[in-house]
């Protein structure tokens, strides 16, 4: 990443976004590690749903929105030298973050208890996927305001569209300030007004049952007591997206579907005048697969593998593994043919994929400097050492990685 140091220097918040299945969590964690290495900052990585072994190796046990520190000895080992910064990790716990929010905003203990036990609330806080987007932002805001960390790296929740994350605070504010909310709470509030809406309630009652509607009404009535604080809060949360010290890192893998979604996210950032810090293209095939000379050779080999196999066995007859082979000449020849053909076929297969990938990357309407490639790795990122390697790729870029 050309400007990684600058990005780390200038940012207080880095939001890592992108479509699902592209290695977003890994990139976020590696970015945090790189930040602790390249600066003396106190860095927090908030992840949403890390792969289990990565979570274990980071010392993430169970859900906790509070940061826990990665030991500096482990960090030093991961990057191979003394690390100046400090790294903390936390995992988003949507349910308890919602409860905390209610605790903070509820006017009194009775209201608080009523909200926490309302079935609609329980549903929203634990199952409502969109609410994860909001609560992630909310948690981020709280941590940011606490000024406990110099830099917070956020791994965004998997949602239908990466963009949902950006809109979560304003959607939440709309949600609680909607006129419809007032509609729903009318029956509980004013019998007289109720008459006007009778046809609506008759239908709604018939379909959903009165109990459900009154649960909904109770929920909104209770929430109304927290409404002002809540909307204000959602606006402040939205505000931190616009801070000049907030940057976005968009992650994608170099296939057409995720790249299209990532591009869409980048243009949405632009439309909101938010700044793209970096685009990370994860799991790119190494550039040698696009080497024209190698591709030509693979075609040649594919066309005349039988001839080449025979010649190789003749010219290489003094090679130890041929001389000492227990196979008959015919068997050896068949073996050589199959191996050479497979080498050529497989190279051309990957060349095709790699060329498609390069096309996808070239199509990106983004300044080349803002694009960092992380190669397809021949190991799993499941511990700090391997995470350190990814951090290394982020720092240096990876045009021709060794595999």
């Amino acid at each position: 990443m050309a400007g990684l140091e600058a990005l780390i220097d200038e940012s207080k918040i880095i939001i890592v976004a992108g479509p699902g299945g592209v290695g977003k969590t890994t990139v976020a964690a590696a970015l945090g590690l790189a930040a602790a290495d390249l600066s003396a900052k106190k860095v927090l990585v908030i992840t949403v749903d890390p792969a289990k072994r990565l979570a274990d190796s980071l010392g993430l046990v169970g859900l906790s929105s509070k940061g826990s520190r990665v030991s500096s000895a482990e960090l030093d080992k991961a990057v191979g030298h003394k690390v100046e910064g400090k790294l903390y990790v936390a995992m988003l716990d949507a349910k308890s973050s919602w409860d905390e929010l209610v605790n903070r905003h509820a006017p009194d203990a009775v209201t608080r208890q009523k909200i926490l036990s309302n079935p609609i609330y329980k549903n929203i806080s634990s199952r409502f996927v969109q609410s994860h987007d909001y609560i992630a932002m909310e948690t981020l805001y709280e941590l940011y305001r606490s000024e406990q960390y110099d830099l917070i790296v956020v791994d965004t929740p998997p949602s239908r569209h990466a963009i949902d994350f950006l809109d979560a605070p304003s959607k939440m504010a709309d949600f609680f300030s909607s006129r419809l909310l007032k509609w729903l709470t009318i029956p509980a509030r004013n019998r007289l007004l109720m008459g006007m809406f009778r046809p609506f309630y008759q239908v709604a009652d018939k379909i959903l049952g009165a109990q459900f509607l009154s649960d909904v009404a109770e929920f909104f009535l209770l929430f109304e007591s927290m409404y002002a604080g809540f909307v204000e809060r959602a606006k402040s949360v939205a505000g931190i997206l616009e801070n000049s010290s907030t940057s976005f890192v968009v992650v994608a893998s170099p296939e057409s579907v995720p790249m299209t979604e990532a591009e869409y996210f980048v243009s949405a950032l632009e439309a909101r005048h938010l700044s793209l810090g970096q685009m990370v293209v994860n799991r790119a095939l190494p550039a040698y697969f696009r080497d024209p000379a190698a591709i030509l050779l693979a075609h040649k080999l594919q066309d005349a593998y039988e001839k080449f196999a025979k010649e190789f066995l003749q010219k290489g007859s003094s090679l130890q593994f041929i001389k000492e082979s227990e196979y008959s000449q015919a068997r050896l020849e068949a073996l050589a043919e199959r191996v050479l053909l497979e080498v050529a076929d497989s190279f051309l297969n990957f060349s095709g994929v790699s060329i498609d990938e390069a096309d996808e990357i070239a199509k990106l309407p983004i300044d080349e400097e803002l694009v960092t490639l992380v190669p397809h790795l021949n190991f799993d990122v499941s511990d700090l050492i391997s995470l350190g390697k990814v951090a290394g790729y982020l720092a240096s870029g990876a045009e021709a990685p060794t595999m």
């Binding site: 079935p119 609609i120 969109q130 049952g209 893998s253 030509l296 050779l297 199959r338 021949n378």
Partner: protein, 326 residues
């Protein structure tokens, strides 16, 4: 009444099949491939896209469909789920309401309530699908379902609704939906994964949750994009010997070029396969009685109909007994 079927029925012999999995694993292409196979076998097949991103339409090289199903080729229909329209249809059918005028604010309100109580949105999705099963206009409904996070709440929504809504018409209707959803002769779920840590873990976790939290039958686990084996054992030994500098030098001369890059490429492919293998094994050993099908990584077919055809060929060549009874 749906005809009764035996437990050993193939996936495509059922009436309602959900295809789910973590984002990026290719569940839309698997859904499209299954749809192509079923329709070619003469089954009137409806593919329903729940996420409504239009991925299936793109894969089948056709225009995205709306809520109203469109026939995109012989025996194959496509629709996009839309909860607002599902609600309108529901009200029209069951309440015989003089439509639009009264529905405007009502639908809006429902949308709002649906946001507050996810059960409502989900029951609308599941309700529409079960309704289509009941109407029997199609032999098979394939659902390109939401990704792993959401599917359990969808499948469990009739149950959830009975807990939330204690009275009313919806409550009564949940019963026949449950009859369809929880009958393994009619309904099944396929979980798709790719051979990497998170997708496999999520698939196994999801399989467990489907078993515990719903009564829906888990039909199969499909591992998509599996790297094919490059070499047999004797071939791999030979390949390793080729990498000896002396051998490479001879080969360089024979082919009049630098064989090293090509060998490096094969090594990378071998590494990728080696890296993925333990996950496939883990899935197989943890799957219990659930069948596991492997689909190869498709090279050189790009995307769209070519990919769908290649996948459907791989499915019928290797996993025929999983798809059909006979």
């Amino acid at each position: 009444m749906p005809r009764s079927r035996s437990q050993s029925d193939g996936l495509l012999d059922r009436s309602l099949v959900f295809v789910t999995g973590k984002g990026g694993v290719g569940k839309s292409s698997v859904t499209a491939a299954l749809g192509l196979l079923a329709s070619k076998a003469g089954k009137r097949t409806l593919i329903c896209e729940v996420d409504a991103k239009g991925d299936v339409a793109r894969l089948l090289d056709c225009e995205p469909s709306g809520f109203e199903a469109t026939e995109i080729r012989e025996n194959l229909w496509l629709m996009s789920m839309n909860t607002e329209e599902a609600l309108r249809e529901y009200l029209r059918i069951y309440l015989r309401l003089p439509v639009v005028a009264k529905l405007g604010p009502l639908a809006k309100t429902f949308d709002f309530v649906a946001n507050a109580a996810p059960g409502v949105q989900e029951i609308l999705v599941v309700g529409k699908l079960c309704y289509e099963v009941k109407e029997a206009k199609y032999d098979l409904i394939l659902v390109d379902a939401t990704s792993t996070g959401h599917i359990v709440s969808q499948l469990a929504s009739p149950k959830g609704i009975s807990e939330l809504v204690r009275l009313g018409m919806v409550k009564d209707q949940v019963a026949w939906m449950e009859d369809i959803l929880y009958d393994e002769a009619q309904t099944s779920v396929i979980v798709v994964a790719t051979p990497a840590e998170t997708p496999i873990n999520e698939a196994l976790e999801l399989a467990g949750r489907i078993d515990v939290e719903t009564e829906v039958h888990l039909g199969a686990l499909i591992v998509n994009k599996v790297m094919p084996e490059l070499f047999s054992r004797s071939e791999e030994e030979f390949f390793t010997s080729l990498q000896d500098p002396k051998a490479s030098k001879v080969l360089d001369k024979v082919v009049a070029g630098d064989i090293g890059t090509l060998l490096k490429g094969s090594n990378a492919a071998l590494d990728m396969r080696r890296c993925a293998a333990p996950y496939v094994e883990r899935l197989m050993s943890s799957a219990g009685d659930t069948p596991v099908a492997l689909l190869p990584l498709m090279f050189g077919v790009g995307t769209g109909m070519k990919l769908v055809r290649a996948l459907s060929e791989a499915l019928s060549a290797e996993w025929d007994e999983l798809l059909w009874r006979d």
